[in-house]
């Protein structure tokens, strides 16, 4: 009697074990097939059904691959650089990239197709732009507003927050993506014919306009700005910078930005709103004192701006 009960207790365990075992068996046996497929380099056939799949699935920004996001980001950055020239300051760009890329590594999305890269723009405007995929541009005016490395880190971390949330891609109108995905799905070859190429380029051009006008004119929604601020607080904390520097920066912006101005004020919610949102995320931790070594290198890197 006792033994029978024991067997009964064991049975469910065996059943669960078997259930768990089955799916992984197929994963392991699929190994060699998949590797062979990469070497062949082929696209699954049935163009007709591929179109249906693309129309059904390929409608939203989520279907944009990191590789395509990379080309979108390059074009967006090229457009910003068409309006704001790069500042020729190798020393600062080195410092900016070391700081920025370290912060990006601590984000929830450290790996993008082409990686994160930062550049100083020669403009007194207070502004910063995040092009999809990791190209971040910051004006001289914005850097000059930062009094510490922690403050600059806060600005960069906010921009990284936009990239990790793929906010730029969300600005693309769905109709453009439907067009692009249709072409991509019907054409099996990687090199497109002139007609397809021109249709794709048209969708691409429209997508770039959607993003640049959001970055430079209309701005993101309040939700996305909060998402970027939340991301920034996490990044700053992980790397070891003072998250309170974000509040310091926002307070500084509140002082400097004129309502109705043409720069950051136009594309971002009132800094006061953002401070109200950020403060509870940071908690009541006292401000971290800045070590002299850190302040010294910040001042050395920014002295000629």
């Amino acid at each position: 009697m006792k033994q029978r009960r024991g067997t009964l207790i064991v049975l469910p365990f065996v059943f669960i074990a078997l259930l768990l075992l089955f799916p992984c068996r197929s994963a392991i046996s699929g190994f060699s097939d998949v590797v062979g497929g990469v070497a062949d380099g082929v696209l699954p056939g049935k163009v007709g059904s591929a179109v249906k799949v693309a129309v059904a699935l390929g409608k939203s920004f989520e279907d944009i691959t990191p590789e395509q996001e990379y080309y979108i980001g390059r074009a967006v950055a090229a457009n910003v650089l068409g309006k704001y020239p790069a500042s020729l300051n190798d020393r600062f760009d080195d410092y900016l990239n070391t700081l920025g890329q370290t912060l990006a590594q601590a984000s929830d999305r450290p790996d993008t197709f082409g990686g994160y890269h930062f550049l100083l723009l020669d403009s007194p405007e207070i502004n910063a732009f995040a092009a999809p995929g990791g190209l971040i541009l910051i004006t001289r005016g914005m850097v000059r507003l930062c009094k510490t490395e922690d403050a600059l880190a806060a600005v960069l971390a906010h921009e990284i927050g936009h990239i990790q949330g793929r906010h730029g891609l969300k600005a693309i109108k769905n109709s453009r993506l439907t067009d692009a995905f249709n072409v991509a799905a019907t054409e099996a070859a990687r090199t497109y014919g002139p007609a397809q190429l021109s249709k794709l380029t048209e969708a691409f051009e429209g997508s770039i306009t959607d993003i640049t006008s959001t970055l430079m004119t209309s701005g993101y929604s309040r939700d996305l700005e909060q998402d970027a601020d939340k991301g920034a607080v996490t990044i700053l904390r992980r790397v070891g910078y003072d998250p309170g520097a974000l509040v310091v920066m926002l307070t500084e912006m509140k002082k400097q930005l004129k309502p109705g101005g043409l720069d950051f004020a136009k594309t971002h919610p009132d800094p006061k709103d953002r401070i109200d949102y950020v403060k509870p995320l940071i908690g009541n931790a006292p401000a971290k004192p800045i070590p002299p070594e850190r302040q010294h290198r910040f001042e050395a890197a920014t002295q000629n701006l």
Binding site: K2, P44, R109
Partner: protein
Amino acid sequence: MTLTRVVLVLAFVLALAAATWSDSEMMSVQVKEGQLRSTPSFLGPVVGPVSYGERVETVKKQGDWFDVKTSKNLRGWIHQSALTTKQIMLSAGGQAKSGASDKEVALAGKGFNADVEAQYRRSNARADYTWVDRMETMTVRPAQMISFLDEGKVRPEGGSR
């Protein structure tokens, strides 16, 4: 009684094996240049590179990091943002492989690609790609990041190594 015990132990071992195995999955590197690290951390020392489209077998997962093995027997940790469950085809042409759907396969270079960029540049002369190309050459090595943090007395969560 002894039999029960044997079955119980066997079931436990099977369940444990299943739990470990079920994490194993084939994934692809979806970034141009990925890095395998010796620890699941953004400052973990780099073990070696993995390239776009390369297939890796996941061994286990910890937070946002996968412990993976490559076909060249390289093993290390990589962040989930560098991986996709899709299979990435690096070259076009040839015959369709049965059994794979569009949901599982992505063809590298499809859609918005270098050709589209070239076409776009021809009709948008104001877009300045010179500095975009230059920006992309500005890369910072993991060792530089660690000394940058050390020198500035920036103390990351969990230490810098």
